[in-house]
């Protein structure tokens, strides 16, 4: 909220249009909006929502093709909200999920090195687990389940590649296929069985544990830089061999039922534009989707994350893209896997049952 306010203030200053900002969880909006739309109403003039949801509800959404130019954004970003050639959503800034975050001071204190191979990664985990005070080397955040899906997606992307990842999104690859099974059987599950991942715990609470040294590594998105006391002490590394990352842009749309379509389009144009996104990335924790934002505008720690994306392939979040019942099942089954890694094949079968 605090980091978004300056962007809205800049918009009001520029256009004279007042904006009232209200916070809703996307999960709650998904429940509220269908009923509101059916009665020809909308709770706001511009709404941030999942891309898949926007693409599935275009009957109630204004076409913003006249204010959004796909060439201004990271390749493929606008495609997620484009249906039959019309653009129904606008990308804002996004968050990248680059890998495992650690405290530089912790690594220095214990003479730990960032791994460059899978074997080094396993050795690192073993070394960390022997450090007094460490409960488990990797903190496992939980909310509704997304922190576990983020780390799982990183394993799939690293060891399965983008083609397999996209195949899981569009349903052309099965969760019970040999390729997916191999990733779980040979990479993720052995780490879970060895106790290298902690028991899931609320992702904000376990962030404090990790910062205090109960855990050494925490897989989290780039927004973590805005959640710690000293962001300059943050280091991050990906699984060795990772060549692609999940990049999750926030999307907004204008409901058809808005009383102020012109003003709403002005706001969407500003927020998705380089000017609005530059103000946002300066606040920390955000990565721009608009190509007009310069690297120098980022805080130092975010600049490192933005640089990680250079040369790598950016893909959309798997469960956010599929959405629906698959998403909740995926999250829930991963929570189960985390405490019952021996039942990984059942977990994959249950996920496949709800997959596209």
């Amino acid at each position: 909220m605090e980091s978004f306010t300056p962007v809205l203030e800049a918009f009001t200053e520029k256009t004279g249009i007042e904006v009232e900002y209200r916070i809703y969880r996307a999960e709650d909006l998904a429940t509220i909006l269908p009923a509101q739309f059916e009665s020809g109403m909308a709770p706001a003039d511009v709404i941030f929502m999942w891309a898949w949801w926007i693409a599935n509800n275009t009957d109630h959404i204004l076409d913003v093709s006249d204010v959004i130019n796909p060439d201004d954004f990271m390749p493929g970003t606008v495609d997620q909200v484009t249906v039959d050639g019309k653009i129904y959503g606008a990308p804002y800034t996004g968050k990248v999920k680059p890998g495992f975050w650690y405290r530089i001071s912790f690594f220095e204190e214990h003479n730990l090195e960032v791994p460059t191979t899978w074997a080094e990664f396993e050795t690192l985990l073993e070394t960390i687990s022997e450090i007094p005070g460490i409960e488990a080397p990797i903190a496992s955040g939980d909310g509704v389940g997304w922190p576990l899906s983020d780390v799982t997606e990183h394993f799939i992307l690293t060891f399965g590649g983008t083609e397999l990842f996209q195949g899981l999104i569009d349903g052309s690859v099965s969760w019970t296929s040999d390729e997916v099974k191999a990733i779980f059987r040979d990479k993720l599950v052995p780490l879970l069985k060895a106790g290298y991942f902690s028991e899931p715990k609320d992702w904000t609470l376990i962030l404090e544990d990790w910062w205090e040294g109960t855990h050494a590594l925490y897989f989290m998105g780039s927004w973590i830089t805005g959640m710690v006391d000293n962001a300059s002490d943050l280091g991050v590394f990906s699984l060795p061999g990772a060549e692609a990352f999940v990049f999750g842009p926030d999307f907004m749309f204008i409901p058809k039922y808005t009383e102020y379509p012109a003003e709403a389009k002005e706001l969407v144009k500003f927020l998705s534009g380089a000017e609005g996104q530059t103000i946002q990335v300066k606040q920390g924790g955000h990565i721009a989707t608009n190509l007009g934002v310069k690297l120098d505008d980022y805080p130092e720690v975010d600049k490192r994350v933005a640089q990680l994306l250079e040369g790598a392939t950016a893909v959309t979040d798997l469960d956010d893209t599929v959405g629906g019942e698959f998403q909740t099942t995926f999250w829930d089954q991963l929570k189960y896997l985390w405490v019952h890694p021996d039942e990984w094949e059942d977990v994959l079968a249950n996920i496949e049952a709800k997959a596209p």
Binding site: V144, G145, K201
Partner: protein, 295 residues
């Protein structure tokens, strides 16, 4: 029709109209939806068979020999099997123990807090109550030496998640049965006990032969209301576990919500809504009949 005959209809009309719009129409619409496929074709009972055969409802591959998930219907049954007797016993226990205690109203207020608190808050608190580090339940378990149970966060393990939500429900609902029993106890004439004392009855015999029989109407009310609560349980479970992990604490109402508002499969959601209605109908009819009988 004379004016005398039409006057009652005039006064009944607003209620009838509102009930028709907000109760009867949604019921008929839900029932109709349950007989349709997602693309609007009439499929009769097909959706019912599909839902009832689903492992999300009854999972006989796991029940009763493996840990949950056992299916939402069995989980609801577990709620009734565990939550109902515990709530009844604890409510009665507190009502009797606190009957003659000075300052009992303060203790009763504390017990009743669970009822006053929104169920969602109770669900969120449940996560912390059973947390391995800060949970009071685990602190107590550790104190009495039950370390294997105390060293896990109950809501994150399929073996314990269902039980954690049920026990949280007991904490929140005991206040209700305690208040009902307290009122019923206060209504028992003191003379009955005095007569029994003259006959030399012990406290135990007075409880068995006077208190318990006279508490029967209160017990029936508590049982019916609690069963209804257990069948439509949603908030505590949704906030504490979301029905997980792996569906290990899933209940019918949450499954209905997921089908309707996550999967947007309104037909299967309508099937679940109809099943829930059928399950809650007998106790609801009993309440209605009892109310008419009293009148």
């Amino acid at each position: 029709m004379s004016q005398k005959n039409t006057t009652p209809l005039f006064f009944l009309a607003p209620a009838v109209i509102l009930i028709t719009i907000f109760v009867i129409y949604p019921i008929i619409k839900t029932l109709w939806l349950s007989f349709l496929s997602p693309n609007g074709e009439f499929v009769g009972l097909h959706s019912y068979f599909k839902v009832l055969r689903s492992k999300e409802i009854i999972n006989l591959d796991r029940f009763p020999y493996k840990s949950p998930p056992w299916g939402a219907l069995i989980h609801n049954a577990m709620w009734i099997a565990i939550h109902l007797p515990l709530t009844l016993f604890l409510g009665l226990f507190f009502a009797i123990v606190l009957k003659e205690v000075r300052g009992a109203s303060i203790i009763k207020s504390i017990v009743f807090l669970g009822m006053v608190m929104p169920m969602v808050i109770g669900g969120l608190l449940a996560e912390f109550l059973f947390d391995k580090d800060v949970g009071i339940v685990n602190v107590v378990l550790r104190f009495i030496g039950l370390h294997p149970l105390a060293n896990i966060s109950w809501t994150y393990h399929p073996e314990t998640a269902l039980l954690a939500t049920i026990l949280s429900g007991v904490w929140m609902w005991t206040g209700f049965s305690m208040i009902v029993y307290s009122a019923a106890l206060a209504a028992i004439p003191r003379e009955y006990y005095e007569a029994a004392e003259i006959d030399g009855a012990t406290s135990f015999r007075k409880f068995i032969h006077i208190t318990l029989p006279l508490l029967k109407p209160a017990t029936l009310v508590v049982v019916v209301m609690t069963v209804l609560y257990e069948l439509k349980i949603f908030d505590i479970v949704y906030a504490a576990t979301g029905g997980g992990p792996g569906g290990a604490s899933m209940v019918l109402a949450i499954l209905m919500y997921i089908k309707a508002f996550v999967a947007f499969n309104f037909n299967e959601a309508a099937v679940l809504a109809t099943l829930l209605t059928l399950l809650t109908l007998p106790p609801a009819i009993w309440i209605a009949k009892t109310a008419v009988g009293r009148k």
